[in-house]
């Protein structure tokens, strides 16, 4: 037969003993399965070559780079300010935190102090972004493994925050609101009111998300004891964020290398025990409560003050002045066309984004452009542990593992 498939003949019972249904006479072979590059649960374009024994994963080889845009090369060609919108496109689900991580790295290079109000604003918006990120993660992970309802509930609440972003900076996803030395604009009283309303509205909704999952047998069956990674392995692989904390390693840069307004806030870092998908889910849900706490404290503690550092040679002048004042316009033009003179040197600055440690390693030789800019993307590093975590589980668990990493290919491939 022209279309005879080997696989159809594999499971025929041995003709010499037609009555026997025992397995030893069956011919078995490993099956290669390409998952992706177009697959709804890979969260972008990612291919994984799965070697299967039955339905068990024997080995998996991630094939990445479908979304590689050469962001690190582009960084070498533009000024420091011009790179901010590029960072939006790394992890396009959580643009604010990328801006934040990048601006912090450049400020470390310049040794620039950010005014206190700006620090509070940064922390508030970063935590709002963390809530959005975790909502997105929860909805995607639940959808991937068959719980669709949570998706709608999460997106309903996420929409409120995206509209809030829209009002804050004019964009819902690619925000570019952070600036080197501060932030682009202040929160208006209306925005603060809306945020306060949301903080009262949101915690009961987190309980609501949990109602769908906490006692759902399918959810528990597909998350408990799936993709277990020990603390030692997780550290050795360089995992970070909730994926590392799920294995019981207490590593959160907000706590141990505190930055911005985090040291002034009281919050706890949830740490898991078993290192399975369920623990990582639990950590992220707990972090939603913690984020609400942090935003509340920041709103209470925040005082009036400047939102941009007083360093005219580096920071951009306010937009109103650019449109009305000649000097300010010239300054803006010079900053964008030539950039500021960064001191020669080399820094690494890591920031706890909601996926993990997002770091920027910048090498400067002076002048307005970075000589080399390396992005430490948590998604990329988590993919390095994929083979280790997937080994021995079922094919359908591969989707669970993508979900539990909270992978975004824009960041993974850069």
């Amino acid at each position: 037969m022209a279309f005879e498939d080997q696989r159809t003949t594999v499971y025929k019972v041995n003709p010499e003993h037609p009555e026997s249904e025992t397995l030893p006479t069956l011919r078995t072979e490993e099956l290669l399965l390409n998952m992706g590059p177009q697959h709804p649960s890979t969260h972008g374009v990612l291919k994984v070559i799965l070697e299967l024994e039955g339905e068990r994963l024997v080995k998996s080889t991630p094939v990445m780079g479908y979304l590689h845009r050469g962001v690190e090369k582009l960084a070498e060609d533009g000024t420091y300010h011009q790179f901010i919108p590029h960072t939006d496109r790394l992890d396009y689900v959580c643009a604010m935190y990328n801006n934040f991580a990048y601006c912090r790295a450049v400020e470390k290079l310049l040794n620039l102090q950010v005014p206190e109000r700006a620090e509070y604003l940064r922390t508030i918006v970063a935590e709002v972004q963390r809530i959005i990120g975790h909502q997105f993660w929860l909805s995607a992970q639940a959808l991937d493994i068959g719980a669709m309802t949570v998706f709608f509930y999460c997106f309903r609440d996420r929409e409120i925050l995206l509209d809030w972003f829209d009002e804050l900076c004019g964009a819902r996803l690619t925000t570019s609101w952070y600036r080197i030395g501060g932030v682009e604009r202040d929160l208006t009283p209306a925005l603060i009111d809306k945020l306060k309303q949301f903080l009262d509205y949101f915690p009961p909704k987190i309980d609501e998300y949990q109602v769908f999952l906490e006692k759902n047998r399918i959810w528990l069956g597909r998350t408990k004891g799936v993709a277990v990674i020990s603390a030692e392995d997780a550290v050795s692989f360089g995992l970070s964020g909730p994926v590392l904390r799920g294995s019981g390693v207490d590593y959160d840069l907000r706590k141990y290398e505190p930055y911005s307004a985090y040291p002034k806030c009281e919050f706890s870092v949830p740490v898991g025990k078993n290192g399975d998908t369920y623990d990582r889910y639990w950590i992220r849900v707990m972090e939603l409560y913690e984020s609400v706490k942090i935003i509340r404290q920041c709103l209470e503690q925040m005082q009036e003050g400047p939102i941009m550092a007083d360093a005219p040679s580096v920071t951009l002048p306010p937009k109103e002045r650019v449109f009305t004042n000649l000097e300010a316009m010239i300054q803006q033009f010079k900053l964008f066309s030539q950039g500021f003179d960064a001191p020669p040197g080399e820094i690494y600055c890591g920031t706890e984004a909601h996926k993990g440690e997002l770091g920027f390693h910048i090498v400067s030789t002076g002048g307005g452009k970075p000589y080399r800019l390396k992005i430490r993307a948590p998604s990329f590093i988590h993919m390095g542990a994929f083979d280790h975590m997937a080994r021995g589980y079922m094919i359908s668990d591969a989707c669970t593992i993508f979900g539990t990493y909270d992978i975004v290919m824009g960041e993974c491939d850069r």
């Binding site: 060609d77 360089g238 690494y348 770091g359 080399r372 990329f380 590093i381 390095g384």
Partner: protein
């Protein structure tokens, strides 16, 4: 001087070519032949205890005699400290020792450095391109002599004539 730097310099009297601290970042440069030894020391010594690999990066300095610089960044979960380890590689012999057996996460990170900068890692279990296609032949994109626009591969595409209906 930072106590970590003193400790490394004291342990390796030869091999450490530079030790510095800038903006709070501690950084050690070692010669290529001592790299493996120093890394082992950073990983195993109880006072160092760098069990967590942060990232591997590379820098291209085309005018220097030893053109490439490979940068590792380590963190210690228990001691809460960071260190940066650097080494230089000449273009003619573009190989360094792989550290994958000490930190398993170095696997993908070193593959990325190989893909982007063309530095080979000795004893790496699976040294292939990772972000660029496997059959990419135009070189290593993050080298300074690689143009930002690429090497004109797209310009060689044939234009399709409009098909008459």
């Amino acid at each position: 001087m930072h106590p970590l730097l003193l400790r490394v310099q004291h342990t390796f009297s030869v091999g450490v070519t530079n030790a510095s601290e800038w903006r709070g970042d501690v950084s050690v440069t070692v010669t290529r032949d001592k790299l493996r030894e120093v890394a082992q020391f950073l990983h195993d010594d109880p006072g160092m205890d760098f069990d967590y690999i942060v990232h591997v990066s590379s820098v291209d300095w085309p005018d220097d005699e030893e053109r490439f610089e490979v940068v590792w960044e380590f963190y210690s979960i228990r001691k809460r400290q960071r260190i940066r380890l650097k080494t230089r590689v000449p273009e003619s012999d573009c190989v360094v020792d792989s550290l994958t057996d000490l930190w398993r996460g170095a696997d993908f990170m070193e593959r990325e450095v190989y893909d982007m900068m063309g530095i080979r890692f000795r004893n790496h279990p699976d040294l292939r391109r990772i972000l660029m296609p496997d059959d990419y032949t135009e070189g290593y994109p993050l080298r300074k002599d690689f143009p930002l626009r690429g090497k004109g591969w797209r310009d060689t595409f044939d234009f399709l004539d409009e098909v008459p209906r």
